[in-house]
């Protein structure tokens, strides 16, 4: 096996790109869970975002509109979840699973006439000569706008949750919805908004897969990315900057195993392909070992439905 042709700068740059879909989806789910809602439908929202994003970009010829379409698709699907769990009091775990099953079917249905098509390109931002700097160039100045957007989103969400009044309300609702309700906060409204945001972010992540990473539409293309995003939220102890770390870690493993595949490693392809999932499990075990959910930073009302007595 020969990895010597790999340039460290290119490696870091490509792990940043590989981590974008999971980072976006995990950030969205982080906000959802901070509001006390567990939406296990990330995988479904991602794949719907991937296909709606692709369709929007394909017909408009604009990649940017594609991302808008992806976010809209994910958000629209998440509203089914919001309706069921927030207004019809359905079990969140079961509804999340249903969202994933339905989303996968819906996405295949929507995407069947787009298989094999090419989306409009999402170009790198022009940084001029900066992009040619050794190491720093590819790492800092060699990306498309979504990569920068995703990192900015980490900072923005971190600021929102810790510094803004809206974030305070959101966390109050997630910690104790009864107390938040008696303080006059609109528990349902906050949660529906959070669910919609989570859906849009998952949709964006999916669109990044179909518009940039692959870039085309194929069935089942998310391949568990949504589940890994859920795992990263736990890994990150519900903190945005740690989500970034988790996503990069995962991106790094994906890039490494893909490069090993390309370099003709002695390890069979299937074993390399399963490594990201195995490592995600390992990380989950290490993070949760010997700790209660509360000490990990999980919102206290996570997964519980709220029903105001009056």
């Amino acid at each position: 096996m020969d990895l010597s042709h790999m340039n460290a700068g290119v490696l870091v740059a490509s792990l940043m790109v590989a981590s974008v879909p999971i980072l976006l989806a995990a950030l969205g789910e982080l906000v959802v869970e901070k509001s006390g809602v567990l939406n296990l439908g990330v995988e479904g929202m991602m794949i719907v975002g991937a296909v709606t994003g692709f369709i929007a970009a394909f017909h408009s010829g604009s990649a940017v509109l594609g991302f808008v379409g992806g976010a809209a698709g994910g958000a629209a699907l998440s509203m089914i979840f919001a309706l069921l769990t927030q207004f019809l009091m359905a079990n969140q775990v079961a509804t999340g699973l249903a969202l994933t099953l339905f989303g996968q079917g819906l996405a295949s249905l929507l995407g069947q006439s787009y298989v094999g098509q090419k989306p409009p390109l999402t170009g790198k931002l022009p940084f001029g000569p900066l992009a040619d700097l050794p190491f720093v160039g590819p790492v800092l100045f060699g990306h498309d706008w979504v990569v920068y957007f995703s990192v900015l989103a980490v900072g923005a969400i971190s600021w929102f949750l810790t510094r803004s009044r809206g974030g305070l309300v959101l966390r109050a609702v997630g910690e104790n919805h009864d107390a938040a309700h008696s303080l006059g906060y609109k528990v349902r409204l906050v949660r529906v908004a959070a669910i919609g945001f989570g859906g849009a972010m998952a949709g964006l992540g999916g669109a990044y897969l179909s518009l940039v990473r692959v870039p085309q539409w194929t069935e089942g293309m998310t391949a568990g990315a949504g589940w890994i995003a859920l795992a990263i939220v736990v890994f990150a102890s519900w903190r945005p900057w740690r989500v970034l770390m988790g996503a990069w870690l995962f991106g790094g493993i994906s890039v490494l195993q893909l490069n090993m595949q390309a370099a003709g490693s002695a390890i069979p392809v299937q074993y390399l392909s399963m490594s990201p999932y195995l490592i995600t499990i390992l990380v989950l075990v290490i993070m949760s070992s010997g700790r209660s959910r509360a000490s990990l930073g999980a919102p206290a009302s996570l997964g519980q439905n709220f029903h105001a007595a009056r």
């Binding site: 069921l84 509804t95 699973l97 819906l106 249905l109 736990v234 069979p268 999932y277 010997g290």
Partner: protein, 361 residues
């Protein structure tokens, strides 16, 4: 405006009526979906729900398929339902199913060629053991390290799929197969095949196992202390602790039981309808079984009928694909919709809806 009032006890009427209501609503919504796709909705619904059983043209082929498809769904859903009742979410049954098929086939092919009649029972046991052990991974990680069993069991599905692909390409590849990926065809090896037991019914050993599982689960839930503990742990976790229910033991039992049943289902599939280990073995039964479990209200008898109904949508879906050119994915979306409606109308069992005139209090 309307307001929800929690019922003191769930409505018995609605508990039994909601699955039917959900199916009816899904037919309506599915019809709309098919109409959007440019198909005649009435013809499509009739083709999915009616023709596989009663049409002179299709029934002779489609009817036996009902048990073929329902067998694995019921077998897996029975196992899942016990865990779901106890609040233990094994959603990686698809992985346990795949590993069961792999282990069962490998155990038999290790003795190839043979005509011993002990091989088949050995393969069943190996399939069950494979699924059981695969489910023990999330179970033990949960009990020892407090790791979320939903995520681990699900992530292991992707690992299992890679493992079976590797087996089809490498160590289980048919040596006489001219280099093509895929194992020997078990259905063509008499000692290892899982044939139709009564001609024209579609009943194979998987269906027998499914019916047995329904019976065992029913008796266990009604009469056995384990069934009582499962219900108690799901409904009132603190009362379960007070009653001395060992939650770790319950997690291992429920996960192990569902894993073993899923593994068995996988083996019956690979030795019968599927025939061989292939790169993409696994038709999503492990996920559809989640819908079956809920549609059957986590009740063994309910799951039996839900499994038949879901099998019908598979067969009818294939028929609609052939006759109307309805895309395969439409059926998957249709099944997902069914679960949505089921979860939505569940509200009627637990809440009373009060309509309030605007301005009135």
């Amino acid at each position: 405006m309307f307001r929800l009032e929690k019922r003191p006890t769930p409505s018995t009427f609605w508990i039994y009526a909601t699955p039917f209501l959900a199916v009816a609503l899904t037919m309506v919504a599915g019809g709309i979906l098919f109409a959007i796709l440019g198909k005649d909705p009435v013809a499509a619904i009739k083709l999915i729900f009616f023709d596989p059983l009663f049409s002179a043209d299709y029934a002779s082929y489609a009817r036996p398929q009902l048990l073929v498809k329902a067998g694995p769904l019921i077998l897996i859903a029975i196992g899942l339902s016990l865990g779901f009742r106890a609040g233990i979410w094994n959603i990686g049954a698809e992985g346990q199913y795949v590993i069961g098929a792999l282990c069962g086939a490998a155990a038999g092919l290790a003795f190839f060629p043979t005509d011993s009649r002990w091989v088949f029972p050995l393969m069943v046991a190996a399939g069950a053991l494979g699924g059981f052990l695969w489910a023990m991974i999330p179970a033990i990680l949960r009990t020892k390290f407090n790791t979320n069993e939903i995520l681990v069991s699900l992530l292991l599905v992707y690992v299992a799929k890679q493992l079976i692909a590797s087996a089809a390409l490498n160590f289980l590849r048919n040596p006489d197969g001219a280099g093509f990926p895929g194992s020997r065809n078990l259905a063509q090896i008499p000692a290892m095949a899982n044939p139709e037991l009564i001609p024209g019914t579609g009943l194979h050993w998987g269906g027998v196992a499914a019916i047995l599982a329904v019976g065992v689960a029913y008796v266990m839930l009604q009469r056995h202390i384990l069934g009582y503990q499962i219900k108690l742990a799901g409904q009132a976790p603190r009362a379960a602790r007070f009653a001395g229910v060992n939650s770790d033991r319950l997690i291992v039992l429920c996960m192990g039981f569902s894993g073993a049943l899923a593994g068995m289902a996988g083996f019956f599939e690979v030795s019968g309808p599927a025939g061989q280990i292939t790169i993409d073995f696994g038709a999503g039964y492990g996920f559809t079984a989640i819908i079956v479990a809920f549609l059957g209200r986590l009740n063994p008898i309910g799951i039996f009928f839900a499994g038949l109904l879901m099998a019908l949508t598979y067969i009818g879906g294939e028929l609609a694909q052939l006759v109307l050119g309805l895309p395969a994915a439409a059926i998957q979306a249709f099944q997902g919709m069914l679960l949505f409606f089921l979860l939505a109308v569940d509200l009627l069992a637990n809440y009373r809806i009060r309509f309030i005139l605007p301005g009135a209090r």
